[in-house]
Symmetry: C2
Subunit: 468 residues, 2 copies
């Protein structure tokens, strides 16, 4: 009989990373581990689903990094197709329901890891819950959507929302030869990019042949006699016929169960955790898309749904509840995506985020190439930097370009992480050879231009008497 | 009549960056700028020459970022094909010789920028100065070598030295369909990589069909009746027939003129400069391949011949002598190259460099993929990290892999620059999406493994009583 029992709710990245780390540190005699997953798969790449739909990834299996059987062989009592429907914090018990048999039962815990991820945002307006309206979040959603697309019934797809997931799903449908329209409330897609970079993204999407209805909210979904979605209606009365509607409005933390149990949520809507991934309830941990993370630049707590954070946070929770010590040091909003052959990436604060956080700043951008300009395969890259007024501290960066452009964001993310000024960035010893970069890497040219902008701003303030 | 005169010796990256920056800050009435270049081109990419030889770059012109005419239009009195043959520090005069007419003349200066670059290392042994033995450093060298290769007389090429330039030139000749052999003193190529990563490089070179004679020094060059090189002889008596011998032994700073004039050199053989690029002689500045730079990890001063440093140092010198303020913050030994389709990169200290600098360390490496494993086009990548014992401070990193692998070194270079520990690197918010990285970026997995190695080492010390 093990000394303690750990119950994990949610069998994807965060939950199973926590379970695996705890198992690594405490053996089965000491800690029993029971994990509940309501779906059919564990430890899969949700971020890979659009590529599976588009056909770049051939099978569902390729998206799964560890199967239920592998987890079981590792000493984790994994209960698939079983949903946790209640948590009693005072008696330290969860109520689980087997989705196949309908049987409900209770399980006691000493430690609980809440890792339920997120759910697609779905407007409350008319028709958004009709059949034929798909949110894509878990592997089972992907399977359903593919079955629908394979049925031959679908010709016209309307994607509601032009964020990361919306655009990735739009491209996946376009690649399948469908007629695709994206409706987006803002004039430019992916709202975490500034409009100037967003315009590049919009161009790339339009060049693929995807229709854009931007600067317009989708207000309702029209349904046919069978109750199925037939069109999306927008604020100005436009009717966009659709055999299928895909939601790409982003996700919200899946916290209903936690909220009902009394696990405290933050203002962001995510579960409040400390840097060891402990919630405010003793014995209860949380990790992944359902928690809020500390943003190192804005100082705010926010929800960031991203597999890389889920894995790291799960690892941290697992190490800690396994008796070790680890912390999750927060986020700076790094993200990357590919739209057709356009690569876009961002880190830190956008202009509007910087304003909101109270920073005064200057911006600079540079258009350069990914390799030496004369080298075969050199592709265009634009780097935009946002630097704090006076100090020149790098606050944010955005990149748009072709092959080889986007991953450079990681250098700027590392610079922001270390609170470097753009002048300091300019001094960095970055790699140079003609097949890999111009002799002034685009990142360094951007830093130089941003530094000049900071200096120019100071000079202007001195002239105008706003200084010192 | 301008108030002062700046004389620049050397018309490539460092010299012309300095001239341009000074010109930007001081107008022609205030500062006259005279620049001497003994070759036929200014501001060209020496690093691009191997790709021009191999045919990836079509013409010499593509390698030139600014022509003499452009510099002249910018208000720089540029004297091409003119070699400075003497510097008189006490009277502040240089003696220049027009290589076309043979005419020598003197020119006075108030400020002098010494930017003569480097020259290929050439063994003193028999035959290494014979016709048919080529060092490739300046654009004119490239033109000569291409003429030789185009002549049809050359079938067998022996490259002496398996460093960056040696391998790049070997590949260029191989691509042209020649029979190529590389002789290298060490058992693995590019000595700044550890042997385990070097072995990958050797494999890639061999797979191209280039013959490797490694672990053997080239002792002499055999010449024919016409005095021309006919073979390279190695220490064990092997005779490698050659219609052409290419030197790839690296370069040494071109400091003869400085030394003769009395400008102090450091132990590394490069000119001693401070962080504003001032030599120890008032009014004399230096930048580029001919100076020594401070290595931020070893604390040593060393010569690093690389276009990116030359450009930055020239810029710093030009800003300072133009009345501004700028510093060059040192180097950490970042470098990258491509050998066939293998990308290799390094930063910080190698194992042997770390030992030499007195560090105790652990190492870790990981084999992963450049994209999510399931994503089309995912390529292999190996990341090796060297971390200080106890502190876990990242000391060095090496990467070998295929497309998309090498540029990740810049993240690690930025981490080293900021003195991050591998534990801190593990916390970095790096970009993730399946087309760009696995959910754990190879850099992060390597950091995790290195952290485990640091912790394991501490635990071992505690067990063995070597701790605290």
């Amino acid at each position: 009989m093990p000394r303690e029992r750990l119950v994990v709710i949610g069998g994807d990245a965060a939950g199973m990373s926590a379970a695996s780390q705890a198992r690594k540190r405490r053996d089965a005699d000491d800690l029993e581990i029971v994990a509940f997953e309501r779906g059919r798969a564990t430890s899969y790449s949700a971020c890979g689903i659009p590529y599976w739909i588009g056909g770049a990834v051939g099978t569902e299996q390729e998206l799964i990094s560890r199967t239920p059987e592998q987890h079981r062989a590792n000493g984790i009592d994994l209960r698939m197709r079983t949903e946790v429907v209640g948590i009693d914090l005072s008696s330290r018990r969860v109520t689980a329901r087997d989705l196949e048999t309908g049987r409900a039962y209770q399980e006691a815990y000493d430690h609980l890891v809440y890792a339920t991820g997120s759910v697609p945002m779905r407007p409350l307006a008319d028709g958004f819950d009709a059949p034929g309206v798909y949110g894509v979040q878990v592997l089972d959603d992907g399977r359903e959507l593919i079955a629908e697309l394979d049925s031959g019934r679908v010709e016209r797809v309307v994607v509601v929302g032009g964020g990361y997931i919306g655009l990735e799903l739009a491209e996946a449908c376009q690649v399948r030869g469908l007629d695709v329209t994206v409706v987006n409330r803002s004039p430019t897609p992916i709202g975490t990019f500034d409009p100037d970079i967003g315009a590049f993204i919009a161009d790339a999407v339009a060049n693929m042949g995807i229709k854009l209805v931007f600067g317009q909210a989708a207000t309702s979904v029209e349904t046919g006699p069978d109750g199925r979605a037939t069109a999306v209606l927008t604020a100005d009365g436009t009717r966009l016929p659709a055999d299928l509607v895909v939601l790409g409005l982003g996700v919200r933390p899946n916290v209903g169960l936690a909220q009902a149990a009394g696990i405290p949520l933050g203002a962001s809507g995510g579960i409040v955790v400390d840097n060891r991934m402990r919630t405010q309830v003793p014995g209860v941990w949380s990790a992944g898309d359902c928690v809020e993370s500390w943003h190192r630049l804005s100082g705010q707590r926010m929800v960031v749904a991203l597999g890389t954070h889920a894995n790291k946070q799960g690892r941290v929770a697992g190490i800690n509840l396994g008796g070790g010590y680890a912390t999750f040091p927060g986020v700076i909003g790094t993200a990357v995506t590919k739209v057709c052959d356009l690569e876009v990436a961002r880190t830190g604060l956008s202009e509007s985020e910087a304003e909101q956080a109270g920073y005064c700043f200057v911006t600079a951008h540079v258009d350069s190439t990914t390799r030496a300009g004369y080298f075969p395969g050199a592709k265009p890259i634009r780097v935009k930097l946002i630097a704090e007024k006076r100090s020149g501290k790098l606050l944010g960066a955005q990149i748009a370009g072709r092959e080889g452009a986007a991953k450079r964001i990681d250098v700027l993310a590392t610079a922001i992480w270390n609170e470097m000024s753009v002048d300091e960035v300019l001094g960095l010893d970055l790699s140079y050879a003609p097949p890999f970069a111009p002799v002034w890497d685009p990142v360094l040219i951007a830093a130089r231009k941003a530094f000049e902008a900071v200096e120019g701003d100071i000079a202007r303030d001195v002239r105008e008497g706003n200084h010192g």
